[in-house]
Amino acid sequence: MSPARRQRSGRAQTAADGARGPTALPLRPAVALLRGLQGGLGRGLGPLEALAGAALGLPREARAGLEGALRRLEGDFSEDEWGFDEGFADAVSPLLEMMYDRWWRVEALGVPNVPAHGRALLVANHAGVLPWDAAMIAVAVMREHPLPRNVRFLALSWAFDLPWLSTAVRKLGGAAASPYNAIRLLEQDQLVAVFPEGARGIGKDWSERYRLQRFGRGGFVEIALRTGAPIVPVAVVGSEEIYPKLADVRPLAKLVGAPYFPITPTFPLLGPLGAVPLPSRWRIEFCEPIETASLGSEAADDRRLVLELAERVRETIQERLLTGVIERGSAFVGRRGPFRDARRSDRLR
């Protein structure tokens, strides 16, 4: 993690500070840069010299930012073998943190249940076409865990066939939902989030929210057993209200090659604005880890054990979801609306 993101993830910092700090637009330095550039060009300098001269007048932080941007432009940034791009994750983290603090007012519980080191499999309920739930789980671990770490997640393969979304997902640490990817990530001692409901989760109707769908054939348990990774069930309350699906137009879905073509109150009525998720209130609960290493990797071939464990994880999440929905109260209305001051200290009680 970069120093910038670690600093932002500091526990003592309140959301109100955060909003004034890194998210404020650097208007004054930008104007100064443009003035300097204009002056330089007016004196007959070449565009590059003028830019360099103008940059001299910038405050140190802005100069570092400009240099960082130029370094990215020349390809001087790092991606790991999965295409995870730390710099990109840093750049979008203010947006994700804004969604976390202001839009969804996320309350994270049990974050220390996430192992601080080594491999672990986070298993969560899934909803919504865009992987917002994965992003919010990642922010929660990054911000609220005593030892913040990056969360890798498996995304529906369909996301990798879409322009921009495919790039953003991979740069944020996503990989296609294939067991081979999960096993390799866990063998590299990563923290991996999976959503066993998969496309069935995305396609839930509004009336079915928080009713967990079938957990496939328990593939995630096999993966955990094979790699000896502990399973951490995660119950995400709130994500199932962000895109209330009222109906599904199958022929249109077939046309664009998507698993569903959802009709929500805002989509397709408002066009691309329909992709803006509703500001529901979220509660993410990380449950006690289920240890699997002692069962041995051969246990992955024991169908009964696999199905039993999968059912246990599913029941844990289902139970925490129902409790969570009650404890959260109203889905949208709360003391702290998205644009009101939200001090994290009240929320943690």
């Binding site: 010299e49 360099a52 940059a55 400009l66 432009l73 020349e74 322009p163 495919s166 790039t167 081979y180």
Partner: protein, 331 residues
């Protein structure tokens, strides 16, 4: 102990020539023969050059008499060059391999066959494993003509290996090679004045440096293993990052129009973009190289990003941004 006797097919390609040179320089190898239908571009000392078409029947009489114990099959056309029809390329790939397999069947002395195959057999798919291991070659249908050729080549050698248990068949699955001396589809494409890319896609690419491409084949000659082995520089590089490192201008084209634009660039004589490369530029592909390192005992010198850096350095390319960066004062 007498030294080994090696035959290299497709010896006149750049990599074929380099492999033959490497073999000729190895004291444990007594005899090197090179087969191709055109003479090599530079002199090959210590290599007996046989000018013959691999599709003709000459191998069937030559090979059993030569006492060759190791065959390196490098005559696989990845992209039909100028003046070569796709049909001719297909014939060289499939009929040529068939002839070679037939010749090996008749020759009692052949103990090892090393094929410079292609990781193209895995395809490029949105939902693919991010790192293909060798046993995952049949996850997806073979979509392009070249993939089908490679599939056929692999099954011909597979069948041969099952019938002749005493012969070790190594199928090296190469990722595309890059390097200062290479003139391949990828290097030509990346050298276009503006490189068309599918808009909104930034695939992970994996390449092998030309030096490692040669060295991997030589390592497999020293220690042939049964079955398929992936060959690639470890790590991956995103297409955008690659182009920026190379100082190339990306020309994003909406994905549905991408075929039309690349077809136009072929008609203008700029560069050909095969269907395989088109899919690669959209979805990317990487392979797992554990088997290469652990069983063949070869560790590539260049990771994928290093191979790109080396290619960029040799071309002397430099982007606009680095020029600006140098002018900027330090923080």
């Amino acid at each position: 102990m007498p030294g080994r006797r090696v035959l290299v097919t497709g010896v006149s390609s750049y990599l074929g020539t380099q492999v033959a040179r490497g073999l000729a320089a190895d004291p444990s190898i007594e005899y090197v023969a090179g087969l191709d239908d055109r003479p090599p571009r530079s002199r090959l000392d210590g290599v007996e050059f046989i000018e013959a078409d691999i599709r003709g029947g000459r191998l069937r009489e030559l090979l059993p008499r030569s006492g060759v114990d190791t065959v390196i099959h490098n005559k696989i056309v990845r992209r039909p060059g100028p003046g070569m029809s796709p049909r001719a390329a297909h014939e060289v790939n499939v009929i040529g391999t068939l002839e070679l397999v037939g010749a090996c069947e008749r020759s009692a002395s052949v103990a090892a066959i090393i094929v410079r195959g292609s990781a193209g057999i895995y395809g490029a798919e949105p939902d693919a494993p991010q790192f293909f291991t060798e046993e995952l070659s049949r996850l997806y249908p073979l979509r392009t003509a070249f993939q089908r050729d490679v599939g056929e080549i692999e099954s011909l050698f597979g069948a041969f290996a099952r019938r002749n248990r005493e012969v070790v068949c190594t199928m090296l699955r190469y990722q595309p090679a890059i390097g200062p001396s290479l003139d391949t589809q990828i290097t030509q494409f990346l050298s276009l004045p503006a490189v068309p890319t599918p808009l909104g896609f930034d695939p992970r690419l994996q390449l092998v440096h030309e030096h490692d491409a040669v060295a991997a084949t030589l390592a497999a000659v020293r220690r042939p293993v049964r079955g398929a082995v992936n060959v690639a520089g470890p790590g991956t590089i995103g297409l955008t990052r690659l182009l920026r490192r190379a100082g190339r201008l990306a020309l994003p084209v909406p994905a549905p129009l991408f075929d039309t634009v690349t077809a136009a660039s072929r008609r203008l004589g700029l560069a050909t973009v095969s269907p395989d490369l088109r899919r690669l530029l959209r979805y990317g592909r990487a392979v797992d190289t554990t088997r290469l390192t652990e069983e063949v005992g070869f560790t590539p010198r260049f990771s994928t990003p290093d191979a790109v850096e080396d290619w960029v350095r040799a071309r002397g390319g430099r982007g606009l941004a680095s020029a600006v960066g140098e002018l900027l004062p330090g923080p």
